[in-house]
Amino acid sequence: MAQPDGSTWRHLARGCLRQIWRYRLRSALVVFCAALGVAGAVTSVNYASGGRAQVLEKIRRLGTNVVVINAEQSRAVGGRARTGQVVTTLREPDYRALQREIAGLVRSSAVITAGMRLKAGFNSKVSPVLGVEPDFFRIKSWALAEGEYFDEEDLKRSVRVALLGHTVARDLYGAESPVGQRLFINRVPFEVAGVLSERGQGIDITNEDQQVYVPLTTAMRRLLDAEHYTSILFELESSDQMARVSREIEELLRVRHRISEFRPADFRVGNQVDLIRTQLASSERLGFLVRWIGFSGLVVGGLGVLAIAWIAVRDRTTEIGTRRALGATAPDIFFQFAFEAMVLATAGALLGLALGWLASRLTAHQAALPFIFERSNALAALAVALLLNLVFASWPAWRAARLDPIQALKHE
């Protein structure tokens, strides 16, 4: 056979498009199957990526090299839990001793917390107020949305300035900028120095956006008249030292508080690394599962393409026989059917990509996860879909090509 020239290819291509139009319901089904497979895969994988990104973000925020000492009522005192009672045994001498004795600490902040009434203009609400040191925000890698942090000088002079969590700022001041405005905390007048950037729900239950932050000494002297801390945060040089530092803190505080190692302590040394590890591992497992689900979606979509292409070959047997009698070779028939199915499957896959983008947006919004559209994932899904569809479209096309022309012509 002479090599077909451009005109022949154009005719064959146009013929294919016409067949696609001629069997438009079936064509639409192929597009639909292919699109659904890709959209499903893209959406589920993006959803998993969003979940993973959220966990990673929480970890980044929390810091993997932070140790927290919480003053805590030991559960077993007197044989039953006595929660609700404020523990006042964690104090400045402990803090200084820890700073002095334990190696590998880079930053620290003592914290005292209490729920207090806030009032700004006519707005009022009860919120946790935290007295913290300036390093608190560095340990938390927490940026300001506007205004300024307080500094060591403010601590020294117990200045009445406050930093507001994002939600508190909105609740009390609405759209207005709170910076420089007056805020009453338990009737004590403060000036708002700044507003912190939005954090969202943390890995623990506390919502840091709903809290107010004031200098540690201001909280202790001017608001609470207290000498104890609620907790102490230490940032370590590296997370490798976590175990050693935790152990040393535990030992030192037990000695200082005269609690033998066999009795429950009045503090708890914790780090959230373990919690994070479990969360991350479960998000990885979910990601793996979701990838498989996505892949199965692609296969199911491909099987839809296969089924419809298969039916098409059966329904068009007479056409195949006729074309063969008129001189179409077996490869001609193969390419005709494979090309038709691939045009549709490719259109479907691209449509699926667009649908997947939309659905990813929607699910991310619904689940309050970050919207992530990983281009590499999308391209991988597209590539797998096209490959699968090539196989699934080629099989019926191959069958069409192998039909005996005489039998095909007899077919009715």
């Binding site: 056979m1 016409r18 009698a325 008129l326 179409a328 077996a330």
Partner: protein, 234 residues
């Protein structure tokens, strides 16, 4: 044009038993002849036509088409022979639905490589009297018109041989007559035509009739208006 030399075609049933559809057939057809192959149902007409049309190969014997032994060609080469040398006309027209008349006529050119000449397709449609129907969808045409489109399609690659299997079988008698008139005209223009039928009235249009019975040639004789002169010369 056609030389058939002791060909046989034995099918094998699903259970392995052989079915001898053609037993021992030999004949020749010269360029420009108009021949009918007639016989009862099951006598082997279609089997013979499939071999003549290079859709099938004989299990024994040789078949030469236009001087070329095609009895051992593979599927690919037979496809090319069909495309260039044979025009098929089917009983049920076999036009592609939802496709226009002229697009149907162009199909053989698609598989010939080279240029698809729409002007030629239109000219042939004009030749079969359907110049004004070129852009009609085939489902909008009557049976007789559809069969004429099919004949135009068979002529697209200007093949030396036209094969028709019961071309009037699905037509009423008036439409059947017009199709036979067209085939007769094409014969007069010098085309070689082989037509399979079980209908003596249709067979009467041809100049020669090969009668088949049980896979063998029962008779092979001149027919119609030429019959007398041919018999005299014999």
């Amino acid at each position: 044009m056609i030389e058939v030399d002791h060909i046989a075609r034995t099918y094998t049933r699903g259970d392995g038993t052989p079915v001898p559809a053609l037993k021992d057939i030999s004949f020749g057809i010269a360029k420009g002849e108009f021949v009918t192959i007639r016989g009862a149902s099951g006598s082997g007409k279609s089997s013979l036509l499939n071999i003549l049309g290079c859709l099938d190969t004989p299990t024994a014997g040789t078949y030469r088409l236009d001087g070329e032994d095609v009895s051992h060609h593979d599927d690919q080469r037979r496809s090319h022979v069909r495309n260039r040398k044979i025009g098929f006309v089917f009983q049920s027209f076999n036009l592609l639905p939802r496709t226009t008349a002229v697009e149907n006529v162009e199909i053989p050119a698609l598989y010939a490589g080279g240029h698809v000449d729409r002007g030629r397709a239109l000219a042939i449609l004009g030749r079969v009297g359907l110049g004004d129907r070129a852009d009609h969808y085939v489902t909008e045409l009557s049976g007789g018109e559809q069969q004429r489109v099919a004949i135009a399609r068979a002529l697209m690659n200007d093949p030396p041989l036209l094969l028709a299997d019961e071309p009037t079988g699905n037509l009423d008698s008036a439409a059947g007559e017009s199709v036979m008139a067209l085939l007769t005209e094409l014969h007069r223009e010098g085309r070689t035509i082989v037509l399979v039928t079980h209908d003596e009235g249709v067979a009467a249009h041809a100049k020669r009739e090969i009668l088949i019975r049980d896979g063998l040639i029962a008779s092979d004789r001149p027919q119609g208006r030429d019959a007398a002169t041919a018999r005299q010369s014999a």
